[in-house]
């Protein structure tokens, strides 16, 4: 039954359900959503313009800061794009280290999501437990790469730090404990009725819609479609590591939870296999600073889905055009379609279902907002020097 008149409920840009500033204007009729109008760009930082102002070497640290949770995915994608422009091949040991760090990042990114999803439906205890165990992976990454979030492991032509034996032992230890925890959470999620009631049959995305709306990553795989860049278009050392792609035909938020928990277990196996078969040898090859004119597309399976970078070079030390399309932008169309016709109370969990990373989606705009909270001159940010 409809009350005839609909009220507009704004969600964001500051809202406890949204971890980052985004604005969704919902038209609500009674308790069900009638229409959604997304308005993104609150953390837009003009990154694509900034890429064109810095040399390839400096852009590596710009690419790393597109997103806090999947920084390694962005640097791997960026490094591969530039290596392809140069036509240089990186040593096999660097490929394996890239795979290991990428899978460790998938572990902590997915466990972050499981905690956030639990928090969105009010299950704060699971949120605390999952994030407590996630700390073990973050500390491990800090010990290996020197920083919890921006690991800066990648450089153009290979990897900056090596994994000595002591680091390898530490990784194996953390993985064993983390595997036990992930199995525990999957069991709790499967059995806890209040969680199941809030996620099963919620935010349904049928396979046909998922494909036509070009959804990517766990959102697509939870609708039963087996598509993963690591398998379809293998990069780094993924062609030498056997792993299977987790899919679930639940098509709902519960299916996405199951897919992400399965992927965490899969990542642990990938890391163990990579550690066993890690070749020796050099860490990186030296590359020239100027890049011949060329264009390429580089794709990586970030924790949220297929991440795509397009790079075009013009023979100088600065890229001609650098385009970043993050998985959240691809999933935005899918989530807007699933949000129509749901209960108002389900909006946060459906929004969280695609594991949105809005800072990825917005990239970087450096626009002086008159009267905005902050404004720096171009010189202060070093823009002047980069000209």
């Amino acid at each position: 039954m409809s009350y005839g008149s609909t009220i507009k409920v704004p969600f964001g840009p500051q809202h406890p359900a949204l971890k980052e500033p985004e604005h969704f204007l919902f038209e609500v009729d009674g308790d069900t959503v009638v229409s959604v109008k997304p308005r993104i760009g609150y953390v837009y930082r003009g990154m694509e313009k900034a890429f064109e102002l810095r040399t390839y070497h400096q852009n590596m640290y710009l690419a790393e800061r597109i997103c806090g949770i999947c920084s390694h995915a962005h640097t791997t994608c960026y490094a591969q794009a530039v290596e392809e422009l140069l036509g240089s091949e990186i040593p096999p040991r660097a490929k394996y280290i890239r795979v290991i760090i990428a899978e460790l990042e998938r572990l902590h990114s997915h466990s972050l999501w499981v905690g956030i999803a639990a928090h969105e439906v009010g299950f704060d205890t699971l949120f605390m437990y999952v994030w407590r165990d996630r700390e073990a992976v973050m500390d491990l990454l800090e010990a290996i790469s020197g920083n919890r979030v921006n690991y800066a492991m990648n450089t153009i032509g290979g990897v900056r730090r090596d994994l000595n034996d002591e680091a390898v032992q530490k990784i194996r230890g953390v993985l064993d404990r983390f595997e036990k925890n992930v199995k525990g959470y999957s069991e709790i999620i499967g059995k806890e009725q209040t969680f199941v009631k809030r996620t099963r049959g919620v935010g349904v995305l049928k396979p046909r819609d998922a494909v036509s709306l070009c959804a990517v990553g766990p959102t697509l795989r939870a609708s039963g479609i087996k598509s993963d860049v690591r398998l379809d278009d293998p990069y780094a050392a993924y062609d030498e590591i056997p792993f299977n792609v987790i899919t679930d035909d639940g098509c709902d938020v519960f299916g996405r939870t199951v897919v992400r928990c399965g992927e965490m277990l899969e990542s642990i196996n990938i890391i163990r296999h990579a550690l066993d078969h890690m070749p020796g040898g050099k860490l990186k090859v030296s590359v020239s600073r100027t890049v011949p004119p060329n264009e390429t597309v580089s794709r990586v399976e970030a924790p949220r889905g297929e991440l795509m970078h397009y790079a075009k070079s013009n023979g100088t030390t600065k890229p001609e055009r650098y385009r970043v399309r993050s998985p959240t932008l691809a999933n935005l169309a899918a989530v807007c379609q699933t949000l129509v016709g749901v209960h108002l109370a389900d909006i946060p969990i459906i929004l969280a279902g695609i594991d949105p990373c809005f800072s990825c989606m917005d990239r970087l705009a450096f626009v002086d907002r008159r009267g905005g909270a902050w404004s720096c001159t171009a010189e202060e940010l070093g823009g002047g020097r980069g000209q």
Binding site: I7, V9, P10, H15, P16, A17, D31, A118, H119, E120, V121, G122, F123, D124, T125, M128, Y129, R132, E192, T194, F195, K197, R198, H343, L344, A345, D346, I347, P348
Partner: protein
């Protein structure tokens, strides 16, 4: 005698004691809830954080008091005060220090059920008067939630009244000192009242009216400063009220345990109830409002009716 009555009314089992009890219970609840989540909980204010609720209260009093332009001014001013006063009045009829409450009359149980209903209406008015989308939705949800848990709550309370043949809580407490406790006589009633209390206090499985991730802070969104302090005080007093009620009805109320005064017996029992409540609220995710109301009517109400039927057959006597 008047001085002693005033002392009783104002200090010992009266207002001052209940305020300290309210802050103590909030501390116990937050500490236990934190320990279940492998956190420390309040830590730095006073010995292991025991003064944290008081510190929050004083901080809120010092905060700026914002009144939204579009709100209904009178209602906006009165609702927090009523919300804090209601549990206080209800606590006067529940036996805390001695076998009989400060005010005991035949039928104070019905008065108590009426106060519970009044609390929810005040919550609805709070949401309605602050003219903010989120609080209106929060207010409507709290009214809906009342439809869900009010009847099972009433049945669970009446169950004990039938067993003790009287409608006065003090009478029920005195009856229990002679016979079995309510929890052994009517375990189903105890389960029903515990679930309804989780809904009454808006604890996690049923914190739908102020769902933090959906509608910001629900009916409390527009309140700040002194008003929010009163709301939090009211909520703490309500925690004391419900744990005192369950202790009185189902656990025999304040009894003389060895050389300890009756207050100690009351404190141990209500803290046990509080511990059970705050442990329970750590185990669940939040329901949706339609799931909650339909769940109450399909599961909890038949249970409550079953309990009443059992009493008729003499099992719960």
């Amino acid at each position: 005698m008047i001085a002693y009555d005033i002392f009783q009314m104002l200090v010992f089992p009266g207002i001052l004691f209940l305020f300290c009890l309210a802050f103590l219970y909030e501390w116990i609840d937050r500490k236990l809830f934190a320990r279940v989540q492998s956190r420390y909980g309040p830590l730095y204010t006073g010995p292991s954080g025991i003064l944290q609720p008081l510190a929050d209260f004083i901080k809120l009093l010092a905060k700026e008091d914002i009144v939204p332009a579009a709100c209904d001014r009178h209602l906006f001013m009165w609702v927090p005060i009523i919300y804090a006063v209601l549990p206080l009045t209800a606590l006067f009829i529940i036996p805390v220090a001695a076998q009989t409450g400060l005010v005991a009359f035949e039928g104070d149980l019905i008065f108590l059920v009426f106060l519970f209903a009044l609390t929810t209406i005040v919550v609805f008015l709070a949401g309605w008067s602050s003219m903010n989308r989120f609080s209106i939705i929060g207010g409507v949800r709290s009214a809906l939630q009342m439809l869900g848990f009010e009847i099972p709550l009433g049945l669970a309370i009446i169950g004990m009244a039938i067993a003790a043949q009287s409608l006065s809580i003090s009478e029920i407490v005195r009856w229990q000192s002679g016979n079995w406790w309510g929890i052994w006589l009517q375990p189903i009633g105890f389960a029903v009242i515990m679930i309804c209390i989780l809904a009454e206090l808006e604890y996690v499985p049923f914190d739908i009216p102020e769902a933090e991730t959906e509608i910001v802070a629900g009916w409390q969104t527009e309140f700040g400063g002194r008003r929010l302090a009163l709301f939090r005080l009211g909520k703490d007093l309500e925690t004391v009220l419900v744990s005192a009620l369950v202790a009185a009805l189902y656990l025999g109320g304040p009894q003389q345990l060895g050389f300890l005064p009756p207050v100690a017996g009351f404190l141990i029992k209500s803290v046990a109830v509080l511990a059970l409540l705050s442990f329970a609220r750590a185990l669940f995710a939040r329901f949706r409002i339609d799931q909650m109301v339909s769940g109450m009517w399909t599961y909890l109400l038949p249970l409550a009716i079953l309990q009443i039927v059992l009493i008729q057959f003499g099992i719960g006597r």
